[in-house]
């Protein structure tokens, strides 16, 4: 018997177990993707994007839901991205090494793992109930609340990765600190921050629970944020639970669209990092 065969055997066992677990997880993931793609493709048609919803027997679409989701996400990004980037800048630059910043960073991590339905209920209690009804602003606000800690945390970690000597070099030239941040540190961290923003958008683009309590849904085309807004994810939820084949088919097709958009955003984010390294 070779002296190392025992250890070698344990190594193969561990490797085999780890590989099996990885394959199991990946297998489930591919199963889900296969399900979405196969069901989604059969019901996918251009009318999904161009038609208003129709009754369970008609050939309608979810035009309003796609536009509504886009608008909600855009409004959320308009608020969430600047707040997140500026907050992250404070944490990594002005508030670096301060106790206050460390507390905020821990709270960010907590907020990132909070179930999104909690955020939905929170926004419901401050922007839906007092205003007397579901509205688009509340939906955007809920998505923005989800985005801020995500963007803040990635911005903070990307800025922290910029070597400190680069800042010193710019300061040693007689540059004021705010200019060092804007012209040099942001530039160095740009692709990382952009990736973080894209991933945060991808994350909120697939959210359902916070929207059900805030913007709710609307069967009509609606761009007025004061009224309930249609969204793809809530529509999927409602259509998928309906007894009508046409609606269930549309839910599959919409799910495929959401998956593709999120996948696209993720790939774009990864490409950005690669471009930077090259």
């Amino acid at each position: 018997m070779k002296p190392h065969s025992g250890r070698l055997w344990v190594n193969y066992l561990a490797l085999g177990l780890a590989t099996a677990c990885a394959l199991f997880g990946l297998g489930l993931l591919f199963l889900i993707l296969y399900d979405i793609v196969s069901h989604g493709l059969t019901s996918l048609s251009i009318s999904l994007l161009t038609q208003d919803p129709a009754g369970p027997l008609g050939r309608g679409g979810l035009k309003g839901a796609f536009l509504g989701q886009g608008l909600l996400t855009l409004m959320a990004a308009l608020v969430g991205v600047p707040l997140g980037v500026l907050g992250g800048t404070y944490l990594a630059e002005y508030g670096r090494d301060k106790k206050f910043s460390k507390v905020i960073i821990s709270l960010c991590d907590l907020a990132m793992s909070l179930p999104s339905i909690v955020i939905g209920i929170f926004v419901y209690s401050i922007l839906v109930k007092p205003l007397g009804g579901f509205n688009g602003w509340a939906g955007s606000a809920a998505l923005a609340v989800i985005m801020v800690p995500l963007v803040m945390r990635t911005t903070e970690s990307m800025l922290s990765m910029v070597p400190w000597t680069l800042r010193e070099a710019a300061l040693a030239l007689g540059s004021p600190y705010y200019q060092v941040i804007i012209k040099i540190v942001y530039r160095q961290a740009a692709s990382g921050i952009l990736t973080g923003i894209l991933l945060a958008i991808a994350r909120v683009a697939g959210e359902t629970a916070p929207l059900m309590f805030t913007s709710f849904n609307n069967n009509y085309f609606e761009l007025n944020l004061n009224r309930p807004m249609p969204s793809v994810t809530v529509s999927i939820y409602q259509y998928a639970g309906s007894p009508f084949d046409a609606w269930i088919g549309q839910a599959w097709a919409a799910a495929l669209m959401v998956t593709v958009v999120v996948l696209f955003l993720n790939i774009l984010g990864r490409l950005l990092v690669k471009v930077k390294k090259a």
Partner: protein, 260 residues
């Protein structure tokens, strides 16, 4: 100036008087007194942790970026005390450039790296900026290597070129003094030699203070040398004297390589 002063009559550009520096309660510099002579190279040598980099960073007040430290004493330059609380640090740092151990190219083109400091000084006229960029790159002996690719990213240059770029960037804002913090220790011997050669040429325009671990380098390029040990100045004098007939026993031992 109409005439070149002989080496012995170089005037003092900076005088350090009773300088002490503290990180928190820890005193890192102890009662330093020495001059920095105009249009010359002064080397700061000494074993690791002796305070030479700390001293260098007092000149442009880099320590002010970090909390819990304070200065005592004076560093006089142009009739003012650099260490004054009310000192305009942005002005000060544009008068004393600094080159770091690792090259620090900004993530932008070669041209924009040099023009960065000019923009800070509100020099925006394109042809003036172009001329100053060329002048700085020539001073740093980098012009011929990069003149055809000024618009390319500075991150694509070699380490030695990046370091000369950092020097050119500091020179562009026309400083009185350049501070070198072990600026050649991360470079290969050829790149290092190019920078030494450039520094000797630069003496006609700028005063230089150089922190170095390389004693041969100090002996080759500097006019004056200061040996520091445990935060104190052991001996300051003309480089020749420090290396050939030091007054202090410790200096003799250090330059002979007996400790450090």
């Amino acid at each position: 100036m109409s005439h070149e002063p002989a080496e012995a009559e170089l005037k003092d550009l900076i005088t350090i008087e009773e300088l002490c520096f503290f990180f928190g309660d820890n005193q890192v510099l102890k009662n330093i007194n020495m001059p920095i002579r105009d249009k010359s190279i002064t080397s700061l040598i000494g074993p690791s942790g002796c305070g030479k980099t700390t001293l260098l960073r007092c000149f442009n007040r880099m320590h002010d970026l970090y909390p819990n430290n304070h200065y005592e004493g004076r560093i006089r330059m142009e009739n003012r005390n650099i260490l004054d609380k009310g000192q305009d640090l942005i002005w000060l740092r544009s008068r004393l450039g600094m080159v770091f151990q690792k090259p620090t190219p900004f993530p932008m083109s070669i041209y924009d790296n040099i023009a960065y400091g000019l923009k800070l000084k509100k020099i925006t006229n394109r042809s003036i900026v172009r001329d100053l960029v060329e002048k700085a790159l020539r001073q740093a002996n980098l012009w011929t290597e990069v003149k055809d690719r000024l618009k390319e990213s500075a991150l694509g240059l070699s380490g030695g070129q990046q370091q000369r770029l950092s020097i050119a960037r500091s020179l562009a804002v026309n400083p009185l003094v350049l501070l070198f913090d072990e600026a050649t220790s991360a470079l290969d011997p050829i790149s290092s030699a190019k920078i030494e050669e450039m520094m000797v040429e630069l003496k006609k325009d700028v005063t230089m203070v150089v922190v170095t671990h390389n004693m041969q380098q100090a002996a080759r390029i500097s006019d004056y040398t200061a040996l520091m040990y445990l935060g104190s100045l052991v001996e300051y004098g003309e480089t020749n004297d420090i290396f050939t007939r030091p007054k202090m026993k410790m200096t003799e031992q250090y330059v002979a390589g007996h400790f450090g």
